[in-house]
């Protein structure tokens, strides 16, 4: 019997697991996919919001501001890329200035520091590629950009090192109350636990509604994105948002923490909780609206497009806490933007709820830090030479576009909760994430995966399940 089972290994589940692992507790995360960070957490804007968006007094506002404050230290403790690049909300028309002012006021009320309204000249100076139509902007120096994969992965790894179990390819089919808690039925066995944390992203309503009469409803809200090559990464330096207004929710243009340029998202409500397909209309809209606020975007440099689903709860608020009519069942639902930013604070809040309920005791041997996959580019020349002498695999480049070595890929595979698929390697090392989009490195990465995991090439997948890369050998069907 577990004390806590967390359903979902996305950023909320991982943050909760990591915070919970500070205490003496028997906990497990179960995840229907083959890896952490496979749902909403992997496909979003990768923004650390300042906190002026959410309604004053809302849980969203509170956790956003708190998460923003925690992120920098967390990025140092857990070794994931984060940069405080600041954000701008661009106002194109003078008549919309009251809306910009309202955003400023809300930010101040939410406790966002250093907010400032810039006039056209200040804005132009800060961001030369801003649209010539720009009238003014709200500048939030505390906004940042983060690697969403490594934020999620780092928290999960650290939780795992501190004793939290993870079970992948494990999908919940039923939840039954038992005397001391809950029985969780899955395709991978039945588990008993005193407490359940529902961090199931777009599926959180389905789980909640299995146990509660007070139904909730989550709409998968699709966001299409385009990602541009690193040669376009410095087109803007701040995250550029549109002022919400007559064109609806705008499209952002932002550098990523790895130096690419990201455009998106759309906001299209759909039914299918796995509907992560981009559409022509969606991609066209991304480009059209991105160009409203930023000029001369080098669209020929698009290297990939993708879509993610936000878990939009009808009330547009984070639902965090024990479900009234389901004792021991803790919701962590409706986690949409600013969910990524809020994740560290969400983890803290859910762990606190569990600590209070179970009267948990802190561990003396909690390991608060984690080292990520070693990036040889961060080493001095001497250190790098020493590393290659010791482990020659660090002298062998596998991904040419992102200059990822065999050593890094081996590290990604062999570390706690290591990569099992091409996408797993990609999210941990960036191998395959560059301009050729894995055209060159995928056969080589497959070989390394097969060798390190002692499986055949036929077992290697893109992202688990049936996503196998090769289907047989030449002429085997003749």
């Amino acid at each position: 019997m577990y004390d806590v089972i967390i359903i979902g290994a996305g950023v909320s589940g991982a943050a909760t697991a990591r915070e919970l692992s500070r205490y003496k507790v028997k906990a497990c995360v179960i995840e229907k996919e083959e890896d952490v960070c496979c749902g909403t957490s992997k496909a979003n804007s990768a923004i650390v919001h300042a906190g002026y968006d959410a309604a004053e007094g809302s849980l969203m506002a509170k956790l956003n501001v708190r998460g923003n404050q925690m992120m920098e230290q967390l990025s140092k403790d857990l070794d994931f890329p984060f940069k405080k690049n600041g954000s701008l909300v661009v106002c194109l028309h003078e008549e919309d200035m009251p809306n910009l002012q309202a955003l400023y006021d809300r930010g101040v009320a939410n406790g966002v520091k250093e907010l400032r309204i810039l006039n056209r000249e200040e804005l132009k100076e800060m961001e030369p590629n801003i649209s010539d139509q720009a009238y003014a902007a709200l500048y939030a120096p505390t906004a940042g950009i983060v690697c969403p994969f490594n934020l999620n992965i780092a928290m999960a790894e650290n939780a795992n090192v501190n004793g939290v179990e993870f079970k992948f390819d494990t999908e919940v089919t039923d939840l039954k109350p038992i005397d001391e808690g809950w029985e969780i039925h899955t395709n991978n066995g039945v588990f008993q636990t005193r407490y359940v944390v529902n961090a199931a992203g777009v599926y959180a309503d389905r789980l909640h509604n299995m146990v509660s009469e007070k139904k909730i409803h989550i709409t998968p809200r699709r966001g299409d994105y385009c990602l541009l090559d690193k040669s376009a990464g410095s087109h803007v330096s701040k995250t550029i948002f549109a002022l919400p207004g007559k064109y609806g929710k705008g499209i952002l243009v932002a550098p990523t923490v790895h130096g690419n340029l990201i455009l998106g998202p759309t906001a299209i409500d759909i039914e299918d909780k796995e509907g992560t397909n981009t559409t022509r209309e969606g991609l066209d809209q991304v480009i059209e609206r991105a160009e409203m606020n930023v000029k001369n975007i080098p669209l020929r440099q698009v290297i990939t497009s993708f879509a993610g689903l936000r878990a939009h709860e009808d009330g547009h608020e984070f639902l965090i806490g024990e479900v009234e009519d389901a004792k021991g069942f803790i919701d962590c639902a409706g986690i949409e933007s600013p969910g990524l930013t809020s994740a560290p604070a969400i983890g803290e809040m859910v762990a606190q709820i569990l600590k209070d309920k179970m009267d948990l005791e802190e561990k003396e041997d909690f390991i608060a830090t984690r080292k990520g996959v070693l990036d040889p580019n961060t080493l001095s020349r001497e250190e790098r030479m020493e590393l290659i002498k010791e482990k020659p695999e660090y002298g062998n480049i596998i991904c040419r576009c992102e200059m990822v070595t065999e050593g890094e890929i081996m590290d990604a595979i062999n570390r706690p909760l290591g990569a099992k698929s091409l996408d797993g390697v990609k999210r941990r090392t960036r191998a395959g994430m560059g301009r050729c989009q894995a055209g060159f490195c995928s056969p080589r990465t497959m070989e390394i995966l097969a060798r390190e995991r002692h499986v055949s090439m036929f077992e290697i997948t893109k992202s688990g399940g049936d996503s196998k890369i090769v289907t047989g050998t030449n002429k085997d069907s003749l």
Binding site: I303, G395, Q437, P443, K475
Partner: protein, 422 residues
């Protein structure tokens, strides 16, 4: 720091031919840096025949063609390092490279020949909507899996793009037991060689749908199907023309992009049309002593022309090393001016004093032209007017100039190359 007279970046067909030519031109200190585990580059996975008709007057496979150059390089004792990635080249020609044995190391070169080749355009570059399942490969990646490693990427195949690799892979996948259902091409003409359309599609009854593209991709884990649609003259899908194909594999042969990240890093000026360096008659870039050849310069159809071009680059690199400062002196630059159907020329400028007796100017056209003329104007005077039954973007064109001819025009400023209707 180690030093070589000429460092060649890439040991594919261009790098090999450049090295051999440099050595034969009298420079002994030549080093090839190759990132793969063997010399030969992409030819090693091109196991079909058809290579070498121009160079050797016989039909060879890719590995055989490469083998002849590798043998020559070895006979000439040309030094090379395998599994070695060039990380960076400074404008002063300090090459930083890395491999397992030596770690990071630097080499001072007197001359550098850029011969890194090209990479394939990906699905992302086309912004094709839909899901992102396994089963979508660039044609070259699939070719490597099949021809080098012996693995089948899938069973039921649709190919987008009629570039040569896509056409070759249509036939290869058929040989290996897969069903190739259709090849779709966005443009109203194929981007590949005519002979490949006949020998790889027609001979196996594989339909080629021109003016068609993929508008949707289905399948959440492994590819399950795609939707094709006809496109209008602007390349936009025409509603109502959608056709669904079930398939587990989509191969993309939608263009090649010269790999010039290192060139850009060292400050080499680029031609936006070719995505390769701007070069003069010696195939020298704006950085003195830095030459470029093969697919890193502009994408070729035939390796024979790569070898020929690389030979020129290697010879000129050797001249540069031998002459030093004298190399650049004297002579006036004639500008090449591609217009009206001609997209670019290589070279972009010609120095008559420095040019060889014969110079081949290569270029591509922007559309299909029938019964047309390829014309070259020396300033206002039409000097070349050559009839061509058909020219197409998939086949590289050329005009030949001689030093003797250019010397007759001492005041010549610009050579304009254009396509003229009959």
């Amino acid at each position: 720091m180690r030093a070589y007279d000429i460092v060649i970046i890439g040991g594919g067909p261009a790098g090999l031919a450049a090295a051999i030519s440099a050595k034969k031109s009298g420079v002994d200190s030549v080093l090839i840096l190759e990132r793969d585990k063997e010399l030969g580059g992409i030819l090693n996975q091109c196991i079909h025949n058809g290579f070498g008709l121009h160079t050797f007057k016989e039909e060879l496979t890719g590995p055989e063609y490469a083998g002849r150059f590798i043998d020559q390089a070895k006979e000439l004792n040309i030094e090379y390092k395998l599994n070695t990635m060039v990380m960076d080249i400074s404008p002063q020609k300090v090459v930083t490279a890395m491999n397992r044995e030596e770690g990071l190391f630097e080499i001072q070169a007197k001359a550098v020949v850029l011969a890194m080749g090209c990479r394939e355009r990906s699905r992302g570059a086309l912004n094709i909507p839909g899901y992102r399942p396994a089963g979508i490969f660039s044609a070259g990646t699939a070719q490597r899996l099949v021809n080098i490693e012996g693995y089948m990427p899938g069973r039921e195949v649709v190919i987008l793009g009629s570039g040569d690799i896509g056409l070759i892979m249509a036939r290869r996948m058929t040989f290996e037991g897969a069903k190739v259902k259709v090849v779709a091409e966005l443009m109203p003409y194929s981007g590949g060689l005519k002979r490949n359309i006949v020998q790889c599609l027609d001979d196996y009854d594989i339909p080629l749908k021109l003016s068609h593209t993929v508008v949707d991709i289905k399948g959440k884990e492994r590819l399950e199907g795609i939707t094709l649609a006809q496109v209008d003259s602007h390349g936009k899908p025409i509603p109502g023309t959608e056709e669904e194909y079930s398939c587990d594999t989509l191969l993309l042969s939608v263009g090649l992009i010269p790999e010039n990240e290192i060139s850009r890093g060292m400050g080499v000026d680029m031609n936006p049309v070719t995505s390769g360096p701007k070069v003069n008659e010696s195939l020298e870039t704006n950085i003195e002593g830095v030459f470029a050849c093969g697919n890193v310069l502009h994408v070729h159809d035939l390796v024979d022309f790569v070898s020929e071009e690389a030979g020129t680059a290697g010879r000129n690199a050797a001249e540069y090393v031998k002459q030093g400062e004298a190399h650049r002196q004297g002579g006036k630059e004639i500008k090449m001016n591609p217009v009206e159907g001609v997209r670019y020329t290589v070279p972009g400028t010609i120095n008559v004093d420095r040019m060889d007796e014969n110079l081949t100017v290569r270029f591509r056209v922007g559309g299909v032209y029938k019964n047309c003329y390829i014309s070259a104007y020396f300033d206002d005077e039409r000097v070349i007017h050559r009839k061509r039954p058909v020219v197409a973007p998939g086949e590289m064109e050329e005009i030949k100039l001689t030093k003797e001819q250019l010397l007759k025009y001492p005041d010549l400023q610009t050579i304009t190359v254009k396509i003229e209707e009959a």
